[in-house]
């Protein structure tokens, strides 16, 4: 009896420790970093087309810094310098270059957009500085990236479209058995066109056909989608897939409902933020996407993250703000760096050596995070659960189902 009672206490106690500290299973020895600061840089899109996502990333990062610094990292504090790249790839590369040249930054988070990552990541790779992409979901971001120096210093904690979209299509097939689809995508944006390629493949793999003229491409600066929607309506298909960023998916959904389309919408990671759900409103209800995160995830680490986020951030009306996928991934990126730094035996005298040590430690990170238990794959990509979420019609999300990735 006594033995049973002891065991019954150990489980909750272990969970509590995981929740409070973000447990390490990587088993490195802890060095003493007393009085030191682990400086990171973050390049995010606070303005421009990616400005829909950047502010939530900044929130997630700042909250993570606050949370981590309550206990420190082996006695050190963590600091993240957040800089805006204005959603411009050249600016993004320049910010990364500046971070590295200061000689104080151990690692970098970002950039927000896949379009910018292709310019910024090679800079970090060439200068042997770890970079964790917290929201770039396009193809060839990690593992098989086409940069001359490879991508050994590039990691991502954001769920790639190559995983999220096929799972999303699979969920739609299970739910409503669609046979035909149209596909909208912005042809001048890497994220959107990568997503479109993945959609085409996933739809074909599930026996869903796209009729002639059913691939509707536009510029990301297009203002009026009426004509596109009229064309899509004329195809009489079972579902509409949209691969685009910012407010465009919402505009398409509103116009589609106004023109009488009543079928389902499928989207990519561009849908995974409250701003798009709010903009789409009632007309967006049911639009579903594969996501790395669900705010209602019943997990102690996520619950403490959500509570802290709601306490710290308010919306325009002063109500507590809920974190979205983008915020959770950025928050997790800082947790990942903190855990890697804890086990990296940093010397604080030779930044190049410390960046190498941090890179090696990143590969072994295995932590509890708001995204679930998190570790990188051998390709430095994410290994985590995929949530299939849908707009609730009131600016939020509901969860429909989930898949275990990889």
């Amino acid at each position: 009896m006594l033995k049973v009672r002891r065991v019954s206490w150990i489980g909750p106690l272990a969970m509590l420790l995981v929740a409070c500290g973000g447990s390490s299973t990587s088993g490195g020895t802890s060095s003493n970093y007393s009085g030191k600061t682990i400086n990171l840089g973050a390049v995010v899109s606070l303005s421009g087309g990616g400005g829909v996502y950047g502010p939530q990333q900044k929130n997630g990062i700042e909250l993570a810094v606050e949370t981590i610094n309550k206990n420190g990292i082996n006695g050190a504090k963590i600091s993240v310098d957040v800089q805006d790249d204005r959603s411009d790839k050249q600016q993004s590369a320049q910010v990364v270059q500046t971070f590295i040249q200061t000689g104080k930054v151990f690692g970098i988070i970002g950039p927000t957009l896949s379009n910018s990552a292709v310019a910024a990541h090679p800079v970090a790779q060439n200068q042997r500085t770890p970079i964790v992409a917290a929201s770039t979901t396009g193809k060839h971001i990690v593992g098989d990236c086409p940069y001359p120096g490879g991508c050994t210093y590039i990691f991502r904690d954001s769920l790639g479209e190559a995983t999220a979209i096929p799972d999303n299509v699979k969920a739609a097939v299970t739910k409503s058995h669609p046979k035909s689809a149209v596909l909208f995508f912005a042809n001048d944006d890497k994220f959107s066109s990568d997503g479109a390629d993945i959609f085409k493949q996933a739809l074909a793999d599930n026996g869903i056909t796209i009729p002639d003229g059913g691939v509707l491409q536009f510029s990301k600066t297009e203002s009026d989608f009426k004509s596109y929607v009229t064309t899509a309506r004329s195809k009489n298909v079972d579902l509409w897939a949209i691969s685009s960023l910012g407010g465009i998916p919402a505009k398409i959904m509103i116009e589609a409902r106004n023109q009488g389309y009543t079928g389902p919408f499928l989207g990519g990671n561009g849908l995974n933020t409250y701003q798009v759900s709010q903009q789409a409103g009632q007309q967006g209800k049911g639009a579903q996407s594969g996501s790395a995160y669900f705010v209602g995830f019943n997990d102690p680490t996520n619950k403490s993250f959500v509570d802290a986020y709601k306490a710290k951030y308010k919306d325009d009306n002063g109500n507590p703000q809920l974190p979205d996928q983008i915020a959770a991934q950025a928050y997790t990126a800082v947790l990942i760096y903190a855990e890697a730094a804890r086990n990296a035996n940093l010397g604080f005298t030779d930044i190049a050596k410390d960046r190498d040590s941090l890179r090696s430690a990143l590969e072994k990170v295995n932590i509890a995070s708001p995204l679930g238990q998190f570790r990188f794959t051998s390709q430095h990509d994410v290994h985590q659960k995929v949530w299939i979420n849908a707009f609730d019609g009131k600016g939020g999300f509901v969860n429909l189902s989930s898949f275990e990735s990889n």
Partner: protein, 309 residues
Amino acid sequence: MSRLLLAVVTAQPPSYYLQQLVNGIFSGSIYALFAVGYTLVFGVLDILNLAHSAVFTLGAVIAFVLLTHFGLPFWLAALLAIVICGAIGYGLDLVAFRPLRHRGAPHISSLITSIAIALIFVSITENTFGANSKRFPPGVAPSGELHIGAIGIDRLELFILALTLFLMVVLGYVIRSTRPGSAIRAVAENPRAAFLMGINVDRTIAFTLMISSALGGLAGILYGLSQHDVSPYIGRDQVELKGLAVIVVGGMGSITGAVVAGYLLGLVEVLVLVTLGTNVRSGVAFALLFLALVLLPAGLFGERAARRT
């Protein structure tokens, strides 16, 4: 060619083409409304006021903030936003254009100043309003569709169409038949001669910028309503370059030209989408601009430009 057109036209029921025609007309309304204010300033100052797109944005953003944060009724929020945009236009002349004009600076200086002002306005909007795309709450303006057979016509867009044509007529009347309009025409023709005839040139130019900006603000509000999109970038990303194409094609400085070219662009974009597909639509405005420059250097209604040359 005729076979291609025949194949395209018979591929869909007639209602599809009629609906696309309606779509083209409504798209053109926004281009026209934006371009009217744009071209008015060019007609008087002979400069492109590239801050016009930022004022367009401010119109939508100010109305949105007054409506959602201050709880004003929509009509009052819109009216105040238009008045504020007009005042901004007046201020623009005082701060950005008049000092350069008095120093006899070349027109390129004013163009650069207007770009700087546009960047400042967008930056202020980003930092106060945020970079997110938002929408006016449903129900603040006439909504819903009228149905004529299988054709759906949005009530709001019908209103925008009527307003655009009304403004074209009223502005035309003001410019042609009123005393301030005569002053504007005189300054546009020759500022020095206008001054010698007793016209207050500075005041006339500031008045023109005020009217132009108020129209820009109104266009921004109507864009935000009809496209469900209010963000710091609606002017810069969505209409600025197309607006430029419209005023060049219409004839720089011509209000009627701006309206006609606005509708023309909307219709040509739809025609291209229907016949050639969606992937080439984006380039249409600039193909049209190129053609206009080659075939009609003064634009469709470019009397003043022709006269000057």
